[in-house]
Amino acid sequence: MNINKKIIIGLFVLTSLIQFAAPISMIWEKEKITQKGTEFKFKTRPIDPYDPFRGKYIILYFENTNVTVSNIHEWKNIKEGYFMIEKDSEGFAKVVSAHIEKPKVGNYIKMQCYHYYGSDNTINFRYPFERFYMNENEALNAEKAYRLSNRDRNKENAYAIVKVLKGETVLEDVIIGGKSAKDLM
């Protein structure tokens, strides 16, 4: 084997390691959140669409996607902020404040945010866990189950279980009418 060939193979192996490291590092980050993160429940409404690469998922629509801030002029060109979350009296998560700088304590989520020009001091944000991937046969069932259970008296019957750690999140499960979306079959 000549030197040139050895170098090319060496570089290929190095590249392969980087290619391999990309999904592994994603797994590492997410596993850390799953193990050490704090669990929160977010009220949601599931709908069933489709992604060509990752398959079927249910898209989650969340209530209350805005928060009031006192320093609105500082948010003009900010695209990502840190949003503090707390549990309300029913045990569901809600965003209580927004910060441009990373908070030192407490539970917070890093989210994309938008400031719509106007007189009020509100910032709109977008939860980073809007998709829950499911078996292709079950995604539509989840939406149907939600619609069915929504006809009941209890309107607040779907929520997402999310682990939160230092601004990052992992969507663990979606509960519809007391059952995991994956067990609705």
């Binding site: 392969s16 992604d51 690469f53």
Partner: protein
């Protein structure tokens, strides 16, 4: 080698028409040709096979197997990537000359990189950040393009990077720099291939795919000064035509030289669009004092074009393709005339003259294709103007009368000239 030809060779040899050496040479020539076509078949089958295999894996995993645990799913998601990488190492160590191996493994590896990232996204419910996903995929595949020297990776990633630049929402210049650098490397790959194997089928395909990706991506270089994009397409069309007619790609048929087709069509397309006065008005809104993405694209396209024109001279270009004449007056009038009437009149005049040039060249060279192309240009121009609501009926009527009379006069003149030649 065909049996019939073999029999004839023996006959010719026994009759003493060709020498035994010539018979052997002819036999050798056909045998090597048969080898080549067999090789090509192998390449095509290995590429299609690998692509189908990769896409099959994507679909299978997209089903989302709930029965499996997270760890099993993760291992299964990443194993195709490791297997494809293993094939890559084996190929580089043992079978470096096999084109079928190079392209087949390249395609499979490319798809497996995307597969592994997207499946981790599925397992951990990561929200759909499509631009981010495409960016990571393309950047991870780039080194493999050069190490495996696989043209399939070049094709697939040029589509991927174009998709990325079209959907990304970042306001900085970084994605555009990345896109330009990436495309430059892909072009470099094909340039090297062209130098080493002029007849490679991948060059033929590249002359179509690369300009098409540029046509799409030019639209991404648009933020607020969108009127300038018309001129960027005009320059791009000229660049394609010049490169298509360059020494590098000389002697290729139109099927094997997409640049020669896409270039003139892009120029004509822009001229047709600008021939409408409603659109030519837009050009007056180009902001010269706002140096944004559109102006960067404008300069990046214009500088190499001007360089080529100065180096090769416009007369040389015109001898290759008559459509190249519209560029200099076009860009000057469209950018500086300040009048929508001048712009649309110029565009109409340019289209008309190009139609006539193609017709006359067709007649002169006795090429029916060129003649029909010229007629098609004029027909489209006539259709556009007939339905153009921004011109008065009187103006349109007069133009049509002049055009009709002109055609009849030309026809009469050609017939007369032919008669004269016969005598």
């Amino acid at each position: 080698m065909p049996m019939k030809l073999l029999n004839q060779l023996q006959e010719l040899q026994s009759e003493g028409i060709i020498s035994p050496q010539t018979a052997l040479d002819i036999q050798g020539y056909f045998n090597s040709k048969a080898d080549n076509s067999g090789n090509r078949q192998m390449v095509i089958f290995s590429v299609i096979g690998s692509l189908l295999l990769g896409l099959g894996l994507v679909l299978l995993f997209a089903h989302n197997w709930d029965e499996m645990s997270k760890i099993t799913k993760t291992i299964i998601a990443i194993s195709p990537l490791v297997i494809a990488q293993g094939f890559g190492v084996y190929f580089l160590a043992r079978k470096k000359d096999s084109l079928a191996g190079r392209e087949g493994i390249g395609s499979l590896l490319f798809l497996c990189i995307g597969l592994s990232i997207s499946l981790v996204g599925q397992i951990y419910n990561i929200s759909g950040d499509m631009p981010g996903f495409l960016k990571s995929w393309m950047l991870l595949a780039l080194p493999a393009l050069f190490l495996l020297r696989s043209s399939m990776i070049a094709f697939l990633s040029s589509v991927g990077i174009t998709w990325y630049i079209l959907i990304q929402k970042d306001n900085s210049f970084y994605p555009f720099l990345m896109f330009l650098g990436y495309m430059a490397l892909i072009i470099f790959h094909f340039y090297k291939l062209l130098k080493s194997d002029k007849e490679s089928n991948y060059i033929n395909i590249a002359t179509w795919i690369i300009p098409i990706t540029f046509l799409f991506s030019t639209a991404a270089f648009e933020k607020s000064n969108d009127e300038l994009v018309f001129l960027n397409y005009l320059i791009l069309g000229n660049l394609f035509t010049w490169i298509g007619n360059s020494k590098l790609l000389a002697g290729r048929s139109l099927v094997k030289n997409g640049l020669k087709v896409i270039g003139p069509l892009s120029i004509l397309n822009i001229l047709f669009i600008l021939s409408f006065i409603d659109v030519s008005e837009d050009l007056l809104r180009i902001e010269t004092n706002q140096f944004g993405l559109e102006w960067i694209a404008f300069c990046l396209l214009l500088i190499p074009l001007v360089f080529i024109i100065i180096k090769r001279s416009i007369t040389f270009g015109l001898s290759k393709s008559p459509i190249l004449w519209v560029f200099i007056p076009g860009i000057l009038l469209f950018l500086f005339s300040g009048s929508e009437i001048v712009i649309s009149l110029a565009a109409n005049f340019m289209i008309l003259s190009l139609g006539l040039i193609y017709i006359l060249n067709g007649i002169k060279e006795n090429l029916i294709g060129k003649l029909n192309f010229g007629l098609l240009i004029i027909t489209i121009l006539v259709t556009c103007r007939f339905f153009d609501g921004s011109m008065s009926f009187i103006a349109r009527g007069i133009i049509f009368l002049i055009l009709g009379a002109g055609f009849l006069a030309t026809n009469y003149w050609i017939i007369k000239r032919k008669k004269h030649e016969h005598q």
